[in-house]
Amino acid sequence: MEEVIPSRQPVGAMKGPRFVPDCSIQLMPWRASPVRVLGRDVPNVEVVSDTGEAFRELPMKGANFPALRVRGRSVEDYMQVSVPKLGRGFGKRGGTVEVDSGEVFPKDCAKPRHEGDTDWRDPLRDFRFFLDHGSGCNAGQTFIPIARFRRAAGLAGVESGEMKVGIVGVGITPFRPTTPEFSWKELTYDGAQRAYADAGIDPREDVDTFITCAEDYYEGFGIFDEFTPDQLGAVMRPMHTVGGDGIAGLANAFMIIQSGIADIAVVESHSKASDILTYEGIVAHGLDPIWNKPLGGHPNLIAGLEMDAYLRASGNTAKDCAAVVAKNRQAALHNPIAGHAARVTPEQAEGSPALWAPLRTLDVAPLADGCVVLVVAGEKAARKARTTPVWIRGIGWATETPSLETRDWTTSPATRIAASMAYDMAKVRNPAEAFDIAEIDDRFSYKELQHLEALGLARKGQAGKMVRRGDLAAGGKFPTNVSGGSLGCGNVLEACGLHRLAEAVLQLRGDAGSHQVDGARNAIVQSWRGLPAASGGVAILGVGK
């Protein structure tokens, strides 16, 4: 290439004295391999040389560290961290920290970083010390950011290895066909205050990042992201909107916490479907503008076509779908938040008008308003929460393809791909045996059967039989959608994914109430984004170690 990259100074070569090889103890509450210092295992510490290679064994075994010298620019950039918390082996003189300006910090004191700086929230806990073994100064740049009192004390951080992330708070507002008494802001505030009370946290103090799952056209705004922070307590905090369903939002919370820049995250999604006057028009607006939209037609025709293709390919029948409708809407009678609970019989479902044959009106989950908020925490914070943490053992999300023509109309590949990701992470060998309960998307009745088979929870063509045999009922072998699902609780648009997660968390915590499945410890949750998308997510939840 004729463009020669201008020569660069070697990385790390600083102005000032030659760089004495040293090593720094980088205390990272995220993934850090256990390290032996002075013959003793120090948890959650990774010893990193300045060029980034990690050491397992400190080179100066047995050497004595007269002082923990901290280099840096100015005093107020530091908060002194009580060295003894790092373990006896550090600093014979019991943990004084010297800053190169010679000023010695007493133990256990913390000063605000800048006089005017009232915002003590600091999502990062990257403590890095340069160990100076007394032979000449070392010019490494070191920096300890201000951490909040609570977290500064808890220096031990998290065990090494993959950090666990758990759901520690759930807020669900009752799903109702209309909620004229609430604006979307007030409805979301209602959901958020329930979740924060459940987790026992204050959003203005404890939460590091907020996530909303929403779509502009469902809300009626050009940029809905503008209207999300106030009602969650997210003003002046990191917050973003995902154009995806609840499990995609949960995945972002999972990744942000795993990346080490947050401890507690909040994921919110809601539906104000009763504000929408032209729901079919908006769903149709999601079709491809040049290949599909100009042809018109009610968007449910896509579900009608898929149901036709799926039933023929799988061998399940319309009767099986009617059984799903009856199962879920009757199960919802035991769930106080359900908006569309009803004593529906399979015959009624089968007798409803087939407006998009073979899809009948009762095969379609009716719309509802509602808000669901989850509080998600890294392991350390999760252990301190008010509730039993429900760990996210595995999570996956995937899109097949947006184009109607090139997608597979029979087996929901997006679910299969997302499931394989979640199964790999959770090390699930045989899905059919691995879970006590399932919460599966059922925005159309045939979808529950299709998703069960795509997840490997039922063999091809057997899902229908499982429903009719009662296996999927509350008392059955494999209780599925005992919450009532979307058919029974209501289709809450982008919040469907979070709704199923919330119902599964309540089950695993034993807080589900009258529809509690006793002894449920592992759950699989699956979501689909609804027409016209072919995307979905899978999450595997579990309690205990």
């Binding site: 042809l295 025709l301 036709d308 109309w409």
Partner: protein, 155 residues
């Protein structure tokens, strides 16, 4: 109690009407341009072929979904396709009852990945998967270079 005060007289709750509509002109894009010109001029249906994996896409795409390479070659689709799925629809786009039902179908073409989701111009009672159908195209004078140039698919 969400708030310290809650209205109990439902007549006092207001709502605010509005919309987020605008007029749109969607260009057919690079691949679409070739397809719709050919459809308009000669009434033929073209698919795109990926040079790397040979997959033939219908409707044509500028890129191959699997190898994410540009599809450079054009291939004419076979004269007839086969119905894979059928749905008989009794309501219009706004959910109002239709005088006579519309039959919709997913039509596959041999050798092509994809196909068309379009109207199936047969009596609802005779509409079933497996039917061999061909595109019914408007006369040249009425064709404008859009998917609506194809009225539907018939036996």
């Amino acid at each position: 109690m969400t708030f310290l005060e809650r209205t109990t007289d439902v007549r006092r709750f207001r709502h605010w009407p509005g919309h987020i509509e605008a007029d749109y002109i969607y260009t057919s894009g690079i691949a679409g341009e070739t397809f719709f010109r050919e459809l308009r001029e000669n009434g033929r249906i073209l698919g795109a072929r990926c040079p790397q994996c040979g997959t033939q896409w219908l409707p044509p795409k500028l890129f191959c979904e699997t190898c994410f390479r540009e599809t450079t070659d054009w291939v004419e689709a076979p004269a007839t396709g086969q119905v894979e799925a059928v749905s008989v629809v009794h309501v219009d786009a706004k959910g109002k009852p239709l005088d006579s039902p519309e039959v919709w179908a997913l039509i596959r073409f041999a050798g092509f990945k994809g196909g068309f989701v379009h109207r199936l111009l047969v009596d609802p009672r005779k509409a079933r998967a497996g039917l061999r159908v061909h595109p019914i195209v408007k006369p040249r004078s009425e064709r404008v270079g859009a998917i609506t140039d194809i009225v539907g698919f018939g036996p």
